[in-house]
């Protein structure tokens, strides 16, 4: 579904992302982990054509993202607060995104019913603009907005960060249910190894822009990853 070939992003002489080949088949849920500066957000921005690759290309369902805009119809994403419109109420935001994806108001209302739990009565019907919501509640709005319109590709950058523990578990359940249907590509980056290994079928570890691990999730994965990241510390101390 999403193919990257010889992908490179260079900022003023410094290579921040260098992926020889990464192929994400339809129906896969992929978790991207790595320390700060590993290139996770850069990779997502490239898939969404928000920045230009220095070399190489990405195709989304056979469409080269930098050449043709058709991929936008079946792709939805939430990377950061620049995906929120601060002066709208959450309802207005959902209706807006919905209308861009051909959903009528009624369809949006039905869609939102499924997420009543995660909103926890703090989002809808509050008569507040998004800019006046707390960071965590803003994130909920953005993440749920990214699930709208039945997309074939969903991209979430650090969806668990800033959320309270209860919401983290609820979101994990939502993502797991979506992943189990096996009909969409879900891309998640996270620093939370436990949530990531629980939700994703495949984990890719990035370090300084390159892929250092690419594993299908199995019962040992969490230990593996914890080992990898703590070894990192020890080798640095040495």
């Amino acid at each position: 579904m999403i193919k990257s070939i010889n992908l490179q992003k260079i900022y003023s002489g410094k290579c921040v992302l260098n992926i020889q080949e990464l192929d994400i088949p339809a129906g896969q849920c992929l978790g991207l982990v790595g320390n700060n500066g590993a290139g996770k957000t850069t990779f997502f921005s490239l898939i969404l054509d928000l920045i230009q690759a220095t070399h190489g290309s990405i195709t989304n369902n056979g469409i080269e993202v930098s050449k043709n805009e058709e991929w936008k119809k079946f792709t939805n994403a939430f990377l950061d607060e620049s995906f929120l419109i601060p002066y709208l109420t959450p309802e207005e935001y959902f209706y807006f995104v919905g209308s861009l994806r051909g959903m009528t108001k009624e369809v949006v209302n039905d869609f939102l019913l499924d997420y009543k739990d995660i909103f926890n009565d703090e989002i809808l019907g509050q008569k507040k603009y998004i800019r006046d919501l707390s960071k965590g509640n803003q994130k909920k709005v953005g993440v749920i907005g990214a699930l709208m319109g039945n997309p074939k590709v969903i991209i979430l950058d650090e969806p668990f960060a800033n959320l309270d523990p209860t919401t983290q578990f609820r979101l994990r359940k939502i993502l797991k249910t979506l992943a189990e249907a096996k009909d969409k590509v879900i891309l998640i980056s996270s620093h939370d190894l436990m949530h990531t290994t629980d939700v994703c079928d495949r984990i890719v570890v990035l370090s300084k822009g390159t892929i250092v691990k690419d594993i299908q999730t199995n019962p040992e994965t969490l230990k593996d990853l914890e080992g990898y990241f703590s070894d990192h510390i020890e080798s640095e101390i040495d």
């Binding site: 920045i51 002066y87 109420t89």
Partner: protein, 483 residues
């Protein structure tokens, strides 16, 4: 402590992106600023003799106009003067007293272009008065009162900014007074001139003005002292009033959704609201020049009256959406639809301006015909040019902030300067050519026809715009990150 603040201030100044815009623009801005200061300075020195020659008593004549200067100074400040802000959040938890921070903030606001420019008139004028034998004590009292008015405005403006809506009232009152004065219906100066004259006759009266300025300083001080808490920064402004649905726009599908969003942006954010408001104030601009003989100048006025909103709004497409541009770029919106929704809004603004301006038909028929012709010209020609220059403007806009002096500094670039030629100079040339080869009516028709041709050529124009916007997309996303 103050030294530390100054150091921070200097760093934020030298490291701002402002320093990245190019030399040519700096020089042009410098020349413009120097020109205005020279004009003020000349006025200050020559005003006295000029008025004397015409048979007016200089001080009384100046005092007649002080009231207008004073009120318009306040309005300009409201639109343009930046509030004294410092990134206080990281400082609040440091061992610095709140009092120090606030005193610093307020004192800093005194160092502003708005408090300095009037010096260039009042100082030379006061000196001339003394040279010409006015009592120096009287002149000193009068001068101090004028300085006091400047500081009074400075702190009054801060107070008004913290409490909204006062300004609209002031602006309307000022506009009406100015018009009444202009058409000699009512003379406010008859009331105010003796007051200002009194500062010369009884110099000690200036203490009142200085006292009010000091009181306003204290008022702002205690306001900030009460409100300078962290929770004010994350304060929740609950219970919003604006619940309008604009459901009539739903019929227009995607473009309707985008339009709805733009209307909400304008209604709910300070910066775009002020922009829209000031655009419609431009409609009244022509009232001051009804008897203007120069034809080229009339064309300028008609351009501004009909296109105030079009220029002010269009110049900052796509920058209006800077804080959520990545969202729009990754949703299924094509540039064509995005640009079309902006264009429709600009056209609506122009049509509304043309309708409101109908009162000109009773005052000066020729001017109104010109407004109509240039309205069509703006819709069919300048709308595209403005959208084009917007693509190169690319600057992060803080929707909740006020307007900025000279607009956004980063918005000055060579492309935009060049694009002023087709926007403003081209219609004037067309007018003049047709006016002198044929007659006025031919010139009106020529301008309107160019506009109509532009509307017909809608498709190719949007094709080009779309291409430019696509090319500039990555730069725009990058630029919008620099807040």
């Amino acid at each position: 402590m103050i030294g530390q603040f100054l150091k921070l201030e200097w760093k934020s100044f030298t490291r701002s992106s402002m320093f990245n815009y190019n030399m040519a623009v700096k020089i042009i801005l410098g020349i413009i600023a120097a020109f205005y200061l020279m004009v003020f300075l000349m006025m200050g020195f020559l005003a006295y003799y000029g008025m004397e020659e015409e048979g007016y008593e200089p001080l009384i004549t100046v005092n007649q106009y002080i009231i207008f200067w004073w009120l318009s100074d306040l309005v300009f400040r409201y639109f343009l003067q930046k509030m004294p802000v410092m990134k206080v959040k990281p400082l609040l938890t440091q061992p610095i007293t709140r009092k120090t921070i606030i005193h610093y903030l307020l004192t800093k606001s005194i160092v502003s272009f708005f408090n300095i420019y009037s010096l260039f008139f009042f100082l030379p004028f006061a000196i001339t008065l003394i040279i010409e034998g006015y009592s120096w004590i009287g002149v000193l009292g009068w001068y101090l009162a004028m300085r006091g008015l400047v500081y009074l405005n400075n702190f009054l403006n801060i107070a008004i900014n913290n409490k909204n809506k006062v300004f609209i009232f002031v602006a309307i009152v000022l506009g009406i007074l100015a018009l009444l004065q202009y058409y000699n219906f009512f003379d406010i100066t008859a009331w105010t001139t003796p007051i200002f004259q009194a500062f010369y006759d009884y110099p000690w009266l200036c203490i009142f003005i200085l006292g009010i300025a000091y009181y306003l300083y204290k008022y702002n001080y205690s306001y900030y002292l009460r409100s300078l808490y962290l929770d004010d920064e994350v304060q929740v402004h609950s219970a919003i009033e604006d619940q309008r649905e604009f459901s009539w726009l739903d019929r227009f599908g995607l473009v309707g959704a985008l339009l709805k969003n733009d209307i909400r942006m304008i209604l709910r954010n300070k910066r775009p609201k002020l922009t829209a408001l000031s655009s419609f104030l431009f409609i009244g601009y022509g009232l001051f020049f009804l008897n203007e003989p120069s034809e080229a100048f009339l064309v300028m006025i008609a351009l501004i009256v009909s296109g105030g909103f079009l220029f002010n709004f269009g110049n900052y497409v796509p920058s209006w959406d800077s804080s959520y541009y990545p969202l729009l770029m990754s949703q299924s919106v094509h540039y064509k639809q995005y640009l079309f929704s902006k264009w429709i809004l600009m056209v609506l603004g122009t049509v509304i301006s043309m309708v409101i301006a109908i009162f000109y038909a009773f005052l000066n028929q020729k001017l109104y015909l010109l407004i109509l012709a240039l309205g069509v010209f703006n819709i069919g020609f300048n709308s595209y040019i403005t959208l084009l220059s917007g693509a190169y403007t690319k600057v992060y806009i803080d929707l909740s902030a006020g307007l900025k002096m000279f607009g956004e500094k980063q918005a000055f670039n060579v492309t935009n300067l060049i694009l002023i030629i087709p926007k403003l100079v081209f219609p004037i040339i067309i007018y003049i050519i047709f006016r002198f080869v044929y007659d006025e009516n031919a010139a009106f028709i020529a301008l309107a026809v160019i506009g109509l041709i532009g509307i017909v050529l809608f498709k190719p124009a949007f094709y080009i715009l779309e291409k430019v916007y696509k090319e500039e997309k990555y730069d725009a996303i990058q630029a919008f990150k620099q807040k």
